[in-house]
Subunit: 357 residues, 2 copies
């Protein structure tokens, strides 16, 4: 049954989004003898250069979307902030994996939190905030400091603001554009971790070792693998990710971000895609997250997630890229640059994985 839906080498994969994740997905697809067609509204995207085909068009250009779908065998995406209507339109023409249902769920922080809670998995306290009055009530219940986040289209710290003592709630709500939001309680975590894992078309589930993440200015700075937690906590983290993947009937790679609070793991969010905290798998594991995602969406068997040894991945943000020559010189350092011409502050320009001998 599964085999009917599986592709074979020579197939073409449609990828929505042409950034570094799309680029690394296309490179992984090429290793398996597959070609890619990138769809993106942006000009000069990093993935274009390594794909057989690309289309530059807005997400609501239905004729362009239809031509894109006709040229490929399966469609996936590099990030979750694409319009639900786009994914639904495409799904009528070709398989979209992970499914548009997953996309819709993870695009909305409130829907996502409700979904996770109902699985019996712990999350930070949260409340729906549709107006300044609701914000006041939510702050009354959850307390300060807490974090106000738009329900949709936030990433890397964008679309959020901290509610500290004395903060004016109306100003805070306005600063996010008076959008439907949620208030989240501040979690006094000892550690941030993520489970990057994959689920195949046949339901097979495999996780990589848990990564310990350090953020700097809301952007991932380093991932250390394995995370410095007890074996029991590492096992429980992977189990939570599996529970989520199965409840979503997920196909592909996903990342589940969690906070360690005491001996409890609290899920922060689900990324329905390859994830920055899984970049170390390119050099540090038998199968990379990019190849695994391609395998999963094509209906291929999953590959081994065994790590070669302990690793540290560090992002190169903005001017960090100027260290490229020094990094190339370090024994055991594997450098990845994304081919972006301009090193703007906060822009992810590349990453480096340090493999311990």
């Amino acid at each position: 049954m599964t085999k009917d839906r599986a592709l074979a080498p020579g197939a073409r994969i449609g990828i929505i989004g042409g950034g570094q994740l799309g680029r690394m997905l296309a490179l992984a697809a090429a290793r398996l003898g597959l070609s890619c067609h990138i769809f993106s509204p942006g000009e000069g995207e990093p993935a274009f250069e390594v794909a057989a085909q690309f289309t530059i068009a807005p997400y609501d250009d239905e004729p362009a979307l239809a031509r894109f779908a006709a040229s490929v065998d399966v469609i996936t995406y590099e990030f979750e902030n694409i319009p639900a209507a786009t994914a639904e339109f495409l799904q009528k023409l070709k398989p979209v994996r992970p499914s548009p249902r997953v996309l819709a769920l993870t695009q909305d922080r409130l829907v996502e939190k409700d979904f996770i809670s109902k699985l019996g998995i712990g999350v930070a306290p949260y409340a729906q905030v549709d107006d300044a009055g609701a914000l006041a009530r939510a702050v009354g219940r959850i307390g300060r400091p807490s974090i106000l986040k738009t329900r949709r289209f936030g990433y890397d710290g964008k679309g959020q603001t901290t509610i500290k003592e004395g903060a004016d709630l109306a100003v805070a709500f306005r600063s996010l554009g008076n959008q439907p939001s949620i208030l989240e309680g501040f979690v006094p975590f000892a550690m941030e971790v993520s489970v990057v894992a994959a689920r195949g078309l046949d339901g097979e589930f495999l996780a990589w070792d848990v990564g310990e993440n350090v953020h700097d200015n809301h952007i991932l700075d380093t991932t250390t693998v394995p995370a410095r937690m007890s074996p029991d906590l590492l096992r429980r983290a992977a189990e939570k990710a599996q529970k989520i993947a199965e409840a979503l009937d997920y196909v592909g790679v996903l990342a589940v971000e969690m906070f360690l609070v005491g001996q409890t793991l609290v899920v922060n969010e689900i990324a329905p895609r390859v994830h920055n905290s899984g970049h170390w798998t390119l050099d540090g594991s038998v199968t990379s997250q990019f190849e695994q995602h391609i395998r999963a969406v094509c209906g291929f068997p999953l590959g081994s997630t065994r790590a070669h040894g302990p690793v540290v991945m560090r992002n190169l943000i903005g001017d960090d890229i100027n260290d490229w020559r020094e990094l190339l010189r370090q024994p055991g350092a594997c450098l990845h640059l994304y081919g972006k011409s301009e090193a703007r502050p906060g822009r992810k320009m590349g990453h480096v994985t340090f493999l311990k001998a």
Copy 2:
């Protein structure tokens, strides 16, 4: 001094040849934020799909070569059988690495053997054969069985014939097209090995672990790393490769094929390029041979050649590719397919690397 000649991320690399080696070079370049322009006389080559740019033109199309050179920062090649005139024409326009001098030397088996011998490195007994009379004299000296090979344009067993007892020498010489040839003595080897290594623009030399090669019908079947030889022999093999690389003032990755005869290593041939017996480095080493070649020709520092552990690489020839799904299922197997549509007998369709846990 070296730095003046070095490139930086964002540079474009010209690659002559669009087969699987060009494809894997282009994929490695992309990891480092570099783009590629492939030049090939053939249509639909595997490397085209993963390169920013490609040109289809004959090797003697000087306007096309000039446009190719103008679009890139450095030029390299995926195989040695390109006309010397092409390399020399390009060298006037952009750096060609490894140099056209290396290309000329390794294109001619007689010149190559003379060069290696003069370094004091052992080779099989050989003799120049320009006509059937010279062949008779050479067989008189070297004996039978021996192997008659054209001096130029041979690979994977093409352009060679074995001179057995009773073989008609005139027929043998004619069977290779009456071309300038050499006769090589048959070497009763215990093992075939290859040293894959790189030399940087600044003269730095780094070799990977020695590979033990098994051929089937003149085509590489498996490479096992490390080769099952004594530490002393492994060291001596690497030293021979270094001596050759330094004598050539080599820049890039090269492979030196050797026979183990008793406790002696006899050099068979030099491949001035990334080599099939180094494919295991994609999955089994900190730095792959493809990335290392790109680093070297760009004037970047070389990367660590440390292996993650013992590996076996197996080529997928012709119909072997039909096993792809079974291979994807094997734990520790890393599959590479080259995107070739037709699986002809003897055609290299992909390879698989088995990483031992």
